[in-house]
Each structure stands twice: as C-alpha cells, then as structure tokens.
C-alpha cells in the first residue's frame, strides 16, 4: 500500500506540469495583462517597460520556460493586482477555502449518508419517496440559485444570518449549505443504491443468523461494504466541489482561493492564477490518493502490494 502511494506521488509532478502548461498558454493567448493594468493615460514607455518586465515580448514558449525556471525555484512571480508574491496571496486565502469546502463536504457526507440509509431501510415507503424525489430534484438545482434563495430567506427576510463575508460561525452556515447541496443529492442516491445492493448479500442473513440486530448489521456490516462506491464518487467529484466553491465564494463574498481565482483570471494575473491552479491541482491529486488508500483500507481485496 505504501509502495503504491509512493508510485502515485512520483508521477504527480508530471500531471502538475501539464496543468501548469495548459493554464499558462491559455491565459497568455486570451488577453494581455498590460492592457488591463495600465490605463489609457499611460505612456508608450510605461507599456514597453511592463511588457519587458513580464517578458511579453518573447514568444509564448520562451515565456513559459522563463516562468518554469522561476517556478522550480519556488517563485511564481509577483501578483499584478496585489503586488506581493503570488504564492503568498494564494496561501493566505487557502485557509478560507479549506474551511468552507471542509464544512460543506462534511455536511454533505453526514447528511447524505444518513438520508441514504433512511431511504434504504424504509425503501418504497413515504420517507424514501420524499427523500429520493427531493434528491433527484436537488440534482438539477443550480447552486448559485440556491445560494441566492438562501440569502433572500435567511438573511434578508428573516434576518437570522449574515448575507455575506467571513467572521464568526454564523457566516459559514449559508455558504456551507450551498456548497453541500452540490454533492448531497448524489450522495443520498449512491448511498441508497449501494446499501440496498449490499443488503441483499448472503452475509447479511448470515450476520443476522449470528443473532446480531438489524440495526447493528446495517451499521457494522452493510454500511462499511457500501462505502467504496461513495468514496469513488467523492474522488471524482472533488473537482466539482472546487468549481462549486468558486461560485459559492463569489455569491457569499467568502475570502477564499475560488473568488481570488475568478478575479485573477479576469485580470490576467497569471502568477496568481498559476499558483492557485497548482495548489488546487495538488489538493485534488492528494484527495484522490487519499480516497484510493481509504478504499484499500476498507476492502482488503483491492489492496495492492
């Protein structure tokens, strides 16, 4: 298992290199930061100076090599917007994103698995029909719309929670719910399907024949073997969660990497975008590795040596 993890980590830089390259080229092809940062009153000398400073007079491949040379020394360059090291800009906001994404993910898993279990236990009864229908409807609900509805109801009409920004625990409630609902419907449906499938296995009857209660068999036999499909789903969806957190952070003015990325892209703040993309890519790769290892830990049949 450790050897497997090590192999995965060794090939990680290759995928990171590809991510960095594609991001760089696309950003360079789609806009010139000089036009954005220097206003119309700027002199041709100022334009030339900034162009040279950013190596924009070189062909893109050369620019990329220069960028890469600095990158391997840990230098993403200066943020054009904030005039500070780009990596520092990103890392400062990483905590906010981890807090929001972590809370949202935890909420989605706890609520989703519980509701999925309820559906499976009371299959085709009222509780199942209501929850499953809501889950299917929830799959088609855009999160930005839900976010706006939540602000409307709980912040504006009822005045219970703040509309946006970060601060105490009350600030995180609405954005966390918004983010959680991106994954929640699928978690409910996958848990339901997986638990129902495993409930039909012979070992469930065998465990009951030992004298274990229905609830105990459900929680200690059926649920653990049902977790792997859910983990696979979460591994795949971790990117969706990052995308969702960009939207959520923007709606709720949450100070995180997502919102930073959005403004940096429109400002062609290449160093910040690159630093952000790299941090997110590493995060996704490590999460996927963690999912794989967790699955091996759960199911001895897929342990590799």
């Amino acid at each position: 298992m450790l050897a497997y993890a090590a192999r995965r980590l060794v090939i990680l830089p290759l995928s990171l290199f590809l991510v960095v390259m594609v991001t760089f080229v696309v950003l360079r092809l789609t806009g010139n930061p000089v036009d954005i940062f220097l206003d119309v009153t700027s002199t041709p000398e100022q334009v030339a100076a900034l162009t040279e400073k950013l190596h924009l007079d070189e062909p893109i491949p050369v620019q990329f090599l220069i960028f890469l040379r600095d990158l391997v020394q840990g230098d993403f360059g200066q943020s054009l917007q904030f005039n500070e090291p780009a990596l520092q800009t990103v890392l400062q906001r990483l905590g906010g994103t981890l807090q929001l994404a972590g809370t949202g993910l935890l909420l989605a898993i706890v609520l989703g698995v519980t509701l999925g279990l309820v559906c499976a236990v009371w299959r085709d009864r009222l509780a199942d029909l209501v929850i499953s229908s809501l889950a299917v409807a929830g799959q088609s609900m855009p999160s930005f719309w839900l976010g706006i509805l939540l602000i409307q109801l709980f912040a504006l009409n009822l005045g219970w929670l703040p509309t946006s920004g970060a601060g105490g625990w009350r600030h995180i409630i609405l954005p966390a719910i918004t983010l959680a609902t991106i994954l929640l419907p699928n978690i409910v449906l996958i848990t339901r399907a997986s638990v129902l499938e495993m409930s039909g296995e012979q070992f469930v009857i065998a465990a009951r024949a030992k004298g274990l209660s229905r609830l105990r068999v459900l929680l200690t036999h059926v649920l653990p073997v049902s977790l792997n499909p859910l983990l696979s789903f979460l591994g795949i969806q971790i990117g969706t969660l990052m995308g969702g957190s960009i939207i959520t952070e923007t709606i709720f003015a949450w100070p995180g990497v997502g919102r930073l990325m959005l403004t940096s892209i429109s400002n062609r703040d290449v160093p910040v975008v690159e630093a952000g993309v790299l941090v997110i890519a590493i995060g996704i790769a490590l999460t996927n590795l963690a999912v794989d290892l967790l699955q091996m830990l759960i199911d001895p049949r897929i342990r590799r040596h």
Partner: protein, 349 residues
Amino acid sequence: MAEDGVAHHPSQEVHLADGATDVRALLSVRDLTVEFQTGQGRFDAVHRIGFDVARGQVLGVVGESGSGKSVTALALMRLLPDQAARISGGRIVFDGSDIVPMREAEMRRIRGRRIGMIFQDPTTSLNPIFTIGHQLREGLRLHLGLGRAAASRRAEELLGLVRLPSARAALDKYPHELSGGMRQRVMIAMALACEPQLLIADEPTTALDVTTQAQILELLRDLQQQMGMAIMLITHDLGVVAEFADAVQVMYAGRIVERASVERLFANPAHPYTQGLLHSMPALEEEDPPLLPAIPGMVASPFAMPEGCPFHPRCALASDACRAAVPPLNAIAPGHSAACWHVEAVMAA
C-alpha cells in the same frame, strides 16, 4: 439411533388432527405456512407442514429447488425477507416455546446461540471486508459476553475444532484468502460458536467440489457426535442423506410428501416422487451404468399449482383421485408416512 429418533415421533396426521406438539422433541413444527407476496401475486411457499426434530437427531430434508426447504429453514430462524414473505400460520415450538409470536429481541437470543445456521455458499456468507477472527468474535462477544482477548482465544479453539490448519494465523485472514472448503469450515465454527442445540445446514456442500464435500460432511458428522446437537440438513443430494441423516423428509412444492427413517425410505419409498429421486441416483457398483431415468416435467410454478396432488402432472400413477384432492400425509407404518393416494401401488412397484 435412526430408528429411535423417528420412533419417538408420532406420524404427522395425528398432529394435524389435534395440533398437539411433541413435548419431548427439540423442535416441533405444526401447520407451518409461509406466504410470499410478489409482484405477480401471493402464494404459499410452504403449506401447512409439520415435523419434529429430536434432541441430537439428524434430519435430512430433501427436495428440488423451489420445494420450500430453504424457506422452511429461514422461517425457523425467523429470517424470511420481511418485505416479501411472512409466516401466515402454524407453530414452531423450539425447546418448549413457540417462536412464531416471539419478539425480535427474544429471537436474537436464540439465533446464533441456540440455533446456528450454515449456508450453501460460504464465499458470499462471509463479509469480505472483515477478518475471520472479527466475524467469529462477534457472536462470541454478543452471546457469551466475552472480552476481546477471551473471544480471540475461543475463536482460535473453534477453528481448531473445525480442523482449519494454522488456526491462529487464520484469525487475521480475510475470507478471500481462504479456499471454499476452509470458508465453510469457518462458517461451521461460527455457527457452532455458542454450542447451539440445533444446527440448520442449508445445502452446506453444494457449492464445494466433491472431495471437499466429503471432508465437510465428515467434519459435520464428527462434530455432531462430539457436541450432540441436532442437525437439520437441507440438501437435494440423497447420497448425503444416506450417509449422514437418521430420518429424512422429502418436500415437493411446499409440502412434505414423505417422511421415514433413512433405512426405510431407501428400502421402501412410498411416494412416486421419492421413488423417482431414488431412481435418478447413480449406482456405484455398476460397471457400465445405464442412462439414469429422470423425473419427467418440472416443478409447477407456484402461481399455477395444479388442482389436487401437486405432483400429479409428473406422475405415472396419476388418477382422477389425484386430480381432485391433495392427499394427506398418512402413516403407512410406524415412523413412516407418505402423502399419496396410491401408496400400495407405489410400494408394490
């Protein structure tokens, strides 16, 4: 022993007449009916069956798929799939108390402790993600209140008892690391962990290869003699019954059609279905065995049960009487009963 076990039990029609259970028997089933509700409709998977198992007796239950033998086993454990099936009538008196009306909490003190069960396919009967030791300890800790260490010691003893090589190492193994025969040994160890009075073995050797089958049967027989529990051995293999059981009952389409001691059933089958089953067994002595006769036709669909005797469409002796009414399970000799209108003709054949 065989004759003994049967002789204790009055034949079934006596029970049907007065519904009384045999107080000496470990298990006394009367008028048990199990109803299934499916999308296509309702049917009785088991219809008003009655039988006894004496303490320490090995009862073979024979029949083809769909005859109701596994459903009977699950009913005895009260583990029928609760969406689809229910016990719609009858009594199951185990060691003096009727388990049909029992609350689930009471039932849990019987399952795994006083009645153990092993299944056809040991591969799917073990949870793939837990070690053998973990799965053995569960029952020991639940019923006997053992701590983890004590349960581990007992689990190791049990694996030794079922002659699993290197029992201690096996505790930390996962099911997929064992062979089919070893897994069935583990299942047997699990079922016998709390020294139950009754072991229900639902086709315990069907999923195993022939040499392993023989070893598992031998193990079961040795353990039965050693521990003295009663066994209800469900099988479609008459050879297994001949070797192992004291008494045997033959099931067809949810009913018991014949019941006798093993010796008597093999010597004097009184039901045409039993006779057909015996004729379709290969004889080992013959050098050049002839083509085995098969029972013509198939078991009727539960939704299209024929009127009268359920076996009549496949029976050479079928008459108007057979098409008109279901024959009762009548005693034809002490300890031998059969449900056929033409017992004399069958036995004369």
